[in-house]
Assembly symmetry: C2
Homo-oligomer: 353 residues x 2
């Protein structure tokens, strides 16, 4: 399980698949023949090399340290493929790592399924694959099995990536474990990922560039569990943003939540960008922000642990779970008014992950 | 883990998502809001309901009966979505189930990631989801976790599905276990899947319709293992067909294979269709056909077990593994000449799975 930093260094080299001959991905790279094997050997097997991928078979073999697992899947269709702070590759690894962490599972193994549109520059694919390798290393997971498909020009959009993941349960965490009196804590300011994507799409420029918050939350979560924090539920606030996640969890958990708007950190430039585009940051996607439901007695300690991690610098208690069985989210605004937070019907921002 | 046949019957009902209001999938069905939750509750959670999906969380929790697992992933981009003998849904379940079986693993849990193009008829999606449920029941696996993304019209092609799977190892099977003296057995006639797809695409009609051979091979494989057959390697002959799989395995395993063309069953109508389109059936994809490398002493018994299953009726010993360390595949033709079988560079048939 040790990372081979030597390998990592070598991988900053330029694209290992012959770009002279194939500057772009062609249909045959997904055809099951020689070209596909060259792509797999030259790029995927090289970047993701680990002891479990050596046998070149239909799947990977692995020995799990425990029998109780979490299993999750996520497809990534973000547009554009590259954006400030990351690319579809980082997102695909961190997204699935975080889904496992939200289950209280220690992420171990990921799969990677690529659906490539004919014509994708080979150099772009290599950059994305390198990002996946680096994110996987950072989260201490291995990408152990994969699949490559190529679709005709105009039948895809550059690249879609599916990552599925397996982790072993350290503490089972789920919405029905939410209890009255739980503190609701978020680890960071919100809306950075969605606004980073929108700024690129809309051609907006700000004094400081807004970067995606894409990051693994796994180490922080494992640290909380190892330190005995009574974590009841965790959920990363991706599509639909923090508001949608809170509404979903109040419904799944069956309790009323009270939230203080003034306690939710939003960076000034992010808030300004939201205002320009007429978006409510509460509904804008994050890729490194979670809502944590922590037994009230442990809230302060949880906050301190979060602040020990780069992704937890802006951790903040934003509200609490009430006794009421009325499953709704009520927010007290900065000026003291109260309103019920609703789930949006569709989406403000298509294809942000 | 018991199947609820009552549920299965109810699922022949018409599409549970309001088709009046949303006859087609819209962007908002992938947006993380109410519409996405309606789609998940109304369709996916309903079709795939099982004890592990009740918690509506970021992943599924599962208890594995053994610690040694196989893990695999596959994305499906077949065109058209519906074809004689099946659809992308059957294919997505059987494909991943078979990849696990080829590792000697008993398939247990699948994930399902949907990338839907805006405008896909809701009824089509429901038919596909039902097929997935039925194929999963037939293979005795549960679809326990999923993901839904929607991409803009013209940025996808109806539907892409990723399935990843976890199985527990019953006997570790891989290319490097191939031994000289192994019999090479295939369980069925070849080239049906690829030709079923091509016939639709090219608008060919034959006296009898050629149907895809899509099927789970898992039960047959588990039965061979349970009966103590000394299985050295298994590989399903999908993209690139039987020829590509044999060449790949001779290279991974490091031995020379001798194959008899006359022993490889090809149905007359399939052979005729191949001839019309100028295709070699050896390179045409299958979705229910595998090459099995069995210790010579067990070949006859393996053949008998295969013939007990619907997918093994045409099982046939097609060749053997030689002592020679020259990694190549030599085929004796019907008229007695010998030739080296090569891997094709690209593909004859794009997007057959």
């Amino acid at each position: 399980m040790m990372k081979d930093n030597g390998t990592s260094d070598r991988l900053t080299w330029s694209c290992p698949v012959s770009v002279d001959q194939y500057p772009h991905v062609v249909m045959a790279h997904g055809g099951g023949g020689k070209l596909m094997n060259q792509l797999i050997d030259g790029m995927f097997a090289r970047a993701f090399a680990n002891p479990l991928t050596e046998r070149r078979h239909d799947g990977a073999f692995a020995e799990l340290p425990k029998n109780r697992i979490a299993f999750t899947t996520d497809s990534f269709v973000v547009r554009p493929l590259f954006f400030p702070g990351g690319n579809i590759g980082d997102l695909a690894v961190n997204g699935t790592v975080n889904d496992l962490a939200m289950c209280g599972a220690r992420p171990l193994y990921l799969s990677a399924g690529f659906i490539i549109e004919e014509g994708l520059p080979m150099e772009s694919l290599w950059k994305i694959v390198l990002s996946m390798k680096n994110s996987a290393d950072a989260a201490n997971v291995h990408i152990v099995t994969g699949d490559t498909k190529v679709v005709d020009r105009g039948k895809g959009d550059g690249l879609f990536i599916n990552t599925s993941g397996i982790g072993v349960i350290e503490k089972e965490i789920y919405p029905q474990a939410i209890q009255p009196g739980d503190s609701i804590i978020i680890n960071s300011d919100i809306a950075r990922h969605g606004m980073a994507i929108m700024a690129v799409r809309e051609g907006l420029t700000f004094e400081s560039e807004i970067e995606s918050d894409t990051a693994s939350l796994s180490e922080m979560v494992m640290n909380m569990i190892e330190n005995g924090i009574d974590v009841h539920c965790l959920r990363d606030a991706t599509r639909g943003g923090l508001a949608s996640v809170l509404v979903e969890l109040s419904q799944s958990g069956g309790y009323e939540f009270h939230i203080e708007e003034s306690a939710i950190p939003v960076r000034d430039d992010v808030a300004a960008a939201c205002e320009i585009l007429g978006l409510d940051p509460l509904y804008v996607a994050n890729e490194g922000c979670m809502a944590a439901f922590i037994a009230g007695k442990d809230a302060e300690k949880a906050l301190q642990i979060m602040k020990n991690f780069p992704t937890g610098q802006n951790a903040s208690v934003i509200g609490r779970v009430m006794d009421s069985r009325e499953a709704r989210v009520i927010m007290k605004s900065r000026i003291g008014t109260r309103r019920i937070i609703d789930m949006i019907s569709g989406e403000q921002l298509p294809r942000i992950c």
